[in-house]
Structures are given as structure tokens and as C-alpha cells.
Symmetry: C2
Subunit: 190 residues, 2 copies
């Protein structure tokens, strides 16, 4: 059985997007600086990380807001994921695309459907913050995989927010340093 | 000329103390888990880090709240710093101790006094959050040295808060992984 991963890039001060998110600027003001490790400043280490993530993911889960922003902009109308992707949404979005399944039944239903497709591979909860928060709150995440970008974004959407009040202890299982990010893997103690 | 360092331990979700801070619990609920790398779970790497920090610091700056909590509890009535320490305070605290100078003139005045004593050594702004935030806001910090503890504290005092809205870019200059912390050094671009 694969693991359930919450994997996302965060600034050192805890933001996964800036303010003023729009179709033109899906990561908000300065948000594109979070992902320099994937694009302009990618090193071999970074490329291998992305490649391994795609290969080890048997399913992807995304929120409807992230989907709506991504599908027309960064994803250019096609799924960027090599695995089937499940979109949490209350109703069918206007634009439906091959590779995505639209799930109205909430986070448990999306996870159940994802598990049916993954086999031994992992389930990658890729965002946005609200989706990851829902899965963390429900204690359904096995590993937090955080890429820390070397910036202070100062404002925007915080990753660790609205998850509850109870301490969560982590085991740090991997640390990989590259030019424009620090790749961290933590196992969540249960 | 030495550097001005803001060096402190933070949970992965950005807190440097828990809630319910008191003399009995100076780091708040679960806050002691932040510092396991210094105490119960210290490795050779961690001990060397603390030792190098003490040796390279020519002066320490602390807030009055941190001082008031520390001096009777964790510091047991004596200065824990090998260098002269400057306490930001509006009036003299009830308990005054050798090794501390009490500065009523604010952050610039404390930094000026600290610089007079440091020579080639660094100035270590050790906390609390409010003190580090004031120095960051005034753009007086050269390096952020953050020790990330593998916990989600979920609530408490955030380090990166009230510092302004402007993006800050960092150069990651050192990463050291140890059992109970990840030691990170970032140079602040100016």
C-alpha cells in the first residue's frame, strides 16, 4: 500500500502563495518565486526530485480552486500529472479535461477513489493549502514533503493554518539541499 | 566587522513558542519540544553548533519579556551567554544580573552599544519574536539562522509576523541536518 503525501512548496515564512491570486497570477504576487527550483533555477537534484515524485505517484488529489487556476494557465489545458488526478469540487467545473476525475463527495471519497487506482504507488495531495489542511485535520496524511524556497513572502496563503490545536510530532526522514530549495520529508507520528 | 544574526528555533509551522507562556512554562505549552536539539536529543553536531554560536558572538540582544522569563527559570539567575548581553526594556527590570546591560533607548541604541563591544565577532539577536521582528523590520539583520524542530506546534507565537509586506530574498548559505533539528543559515539580500 502506498503512502498519502502532502507535498508542496512553501516560503521560509510559511506561505504557499502570495496575495492577489488571479488567473493571470495563479500563485499571487511574487508567488512564482516559490517555484524557481522547478523552473529557472532547477538543478539535477531538483529535476530528479520532480521525476521521482511523478513516477511514485499513483494518484493526485487537488482542490477545485487550484484546478481552476491551473487548468487554463500553467497547465495549458492538459493534465500536468502522469497519474490520474482527482479534483475536489461541489459541482462539475466549466472546463473538464482528460486525466481528471471530479469528486463531489469530499476528501474521504476522493481518497477512496484515489486508493482504488494507486496500487503500491503513493497518493500525492498537491494543494492548495485548504485541501492539504483538510487532509491534515482528518489525520489522513502519512508524510509531509515540504520544499522550502529561500524567500520571505511576507503575506499570502499560509500552509499551516486551520489544522487544529493539537501538537503533531514529526520524524525527519529526508533532507536534500539544492540551489533554490530545501527538500524536506517528514513522517507524521500517529 | 561582525554580522548581525537573528538566530532562533522554530517549529516547521513557524512558531517559536506555544500558548500560555508563564514563568513556569517560559516557552508555553509544548514549547520545550522546540529545544530538544539543545538538551535531551543533542548530538555532536548540535553541541558544536551551540559552542560555535557562543564563541562567535561578541554581544547578545534580547527582549525584556524573554529576559524576564529566562532569568528566573531556565537561566537560573545567571547569564547563559558568554558575551555581554543587552536587554531592550523601557525601565530597569526588578532583577538585575551581571552580564546584562539594560537599554531603554530602543533597538538602534542596543545595536550601537552591542557594536562597541563586539569587535570582529557577531551580534546575536536571540529573541523573542517581537525583538527579532523589530530588527527585521528595520532591515538591520544580516543573517537569519533558523533551527527547524520537527514538530507542528499549531499555535503560539509566530516568528514571521508583523515584519511588513515586502518580499525578502535570501541566500541559503548553510544547511546542517541533525536528529532533532535542521540548522539553516540564510543571508538576507539587501
Amino acid at each position: 500500500m502506498g503512502k498519502v503525501l502532502a507535498e508542496i512548496t512553501m516560503s521560509l515564512d510559511g506561505y504557499i502563495a502570495g496575495t492577489n491570486i488571479s488567473n493571470k497570477q495563479p500563485l499571487g504576487i511574487n508567488g512564482e518565486k516559490l517555484h524557481e527550483w522547478i523552473f529557472d533555477k532547477a538543478t539535477e537534484t531538483d529535476k530528479q526530485w520532480v521525476d521521482a515524485l511523478q513516477k511514485s505517484s499513483g494518484a493526485v488529489i487537488t482542490g477545485n480552486h487550484t484546478y481552476a487556476l491551473g487548468i487554463n494557465d500553467g497547465w495549458k489545458g492538459v493534465s500536468p500529472f502522469s497519474a490520474p488526478a482527482f479534483v475536489l469540487c461541489h459541482s462539475l467545473p466549466p472546463k473538464q479535461v482528460d486525466g481528471f476525475t471530479y469528486v463531489a463527495g469530499g476528501i474521504h471519497e476522493a481518497l477512496r477513489l484515489a486508493k482504488e487506482t494507486t496500487g503500491e504507488k503513493n497518493i500525492w495531495i498537491m494543494g492548495g493549502a485548504n485541501t492539504i489542511q483538510q487532509y491534515l485535520r482528518a489525520k489522513l496524511v502519512d508524510e509531509l514533503r515540504i520544499h522550502i524556497a529561500p524567500i520571505l513572502l511576507m503575506q499570502g496563503t499560509r500552509l499551516f493554518d486551520k489544522i487544529g490545536n493539537e501538537l503533531v510530532e514529526l520524524d525527519k526522514v529526508e533532507v536534500k539541499d539544492s540551489r533554490a530549495a530545501l527538500h524536506l520529508v517528514f513522517r507524521i507520528r500517529k
